[in-house]
Symmetry: C2
Subunit: 229 residues, 2 copies
């Protein structure tokens, strides 16, 4: 049971989590969700990132199936910025209007269903409390409650791992360097996508993106601190 | 916030739960899931049951929107009897092979997402420990863990109600009689659907069904004990 399923979106965080899993487990599968994202670029870069990871260390022999799950229904339920063409802003309740209520819980549930079917014990997600986004479904308390609910509900002993929970974006770059040296840092810089605006035309030292949306700002600031250290 | 969202499948249990909610809350909405059930009859009877409930007591003025959620993706993930044309049987792990891992957790998550958007506080589900099905995602422990996970993950105070958790099928018929007298018992007998085989041609005193599948047997035995009391 030294195997894992990684929630892999094609972004910096989940790519780092996937590298973390590949450095620890014998067999690693990936799962992604297509839920009517405003920009499909994050999904489009996934195969490129996976191909790049296969070339690092012995990861090519460990990386197994990639499961893409069609969650278009999420876009139907939500009325939020990530799935509609409206500006990203803060709501009255202090949450960004990109918030789809309980979205990560739904992702975790589907991941557990796939892990159950595949005989996989460990589920890895890049959720993080330190990026200040305020998403309650990314919090440590939530993930620990989800593990209990999933294990009770499926009569299983899944373990949810959250390697990024308590580190910031600079430390996420550092972790990538530890796990896969320059090859991984370069792969994350060049091939992963984070920008909320789907921009792949503007090039920066930290990768492609508009450079001004909150996601680009976080990524750029983290990279600058990583390089400075 | 004296409102509720009822997970309503068109079966006996969820119809009784819906009546329970209509007798307690000022505004009640319903949610159903289309996940590639082997037989769509349960979904097909839903409008008939809803129309019947509107004619009982003051329930017509309380019954609000019905939300149908397309979860065809569940059928893609699962390899189980309810969604495929294979015989219903017990698996080695003691669970019926109709078990979709964590299916009810997924239903609860989507229900919470809809409840969040609709400003609804109470979520009602007909899960039950006493029908001996062995589904771990129907257990009381699971539902209590799910409430905590949902509330942490959405920063809400949803309350999950499970009015059938500790009663058997005979008591479910009794509850229906308490809530809506003969009119509700007749409605449940004639219009709700339970049979795993989708049979609406064979008529019994407890309703339509093949009469021999585990779901029909439970329903028939419960009705016989209800009538005997």
């Amino acid at each position: 049971m030294n195997n894992a399923l990684v929630l892999f979106s094609g972004g910096q965080d989940s790519t780092t989590c996937l590298a973390w899993a590949l450095s620890r487990f014998d067999h690693v599968e990936t799962i992604g969700f297509d839920y009517g994202q405003r920009h499909r670029i994050e999904l489009d870069v996934r195969p490129t990132v996976l191909a790049g990871l296969r070339k690092i260390a012995d990861w090519g022999s460990k990386l197994g199936d990639d499961h893409m799950i069609d969650l278009a229904v999420l876009g139907q339920i939500s009325q939020t910025a990530l799935t509609q063409n409206v500006a990203i802003a803060m709501q009255d309740n202090g949450l960004p209007n990109t918030f789809v209520p309980g979205r990560n819980l739904i992702f975790m549930n589907f991941s557990a269903a796939v892990a159950y079917r595949r005989g996989i014990k460990n589920i890895i997600t890049g959720v993080c409390e330190t990026d200040f986004s305020g998403y309650p479904d990314c919090r440590d308390d939530t993930m620990k409650a989800v593990q209990i609910a999933l294990n009770l509900g499926t009569e299983s002993r899944f373990v949810i791992h959250t390697p990024l929970m308590w580190i910031d974006k600079a430390q996420t770059w550092e972790l990538a360097e530890e796990l896969g040296q320059t090859a991984l840092v370069d792969l994350i810089r060049e091939d992963t996508h984070t920008c909320y605006n789907g921009d792949r035309t503007h090039s920066h030292d930290w990768g492609f993106g508009c450079g001004t949306c909150p996601a680009c700002e976080l990524r750029a600031q983290g990279y600058a601190r990583f390089i400075a250290d």
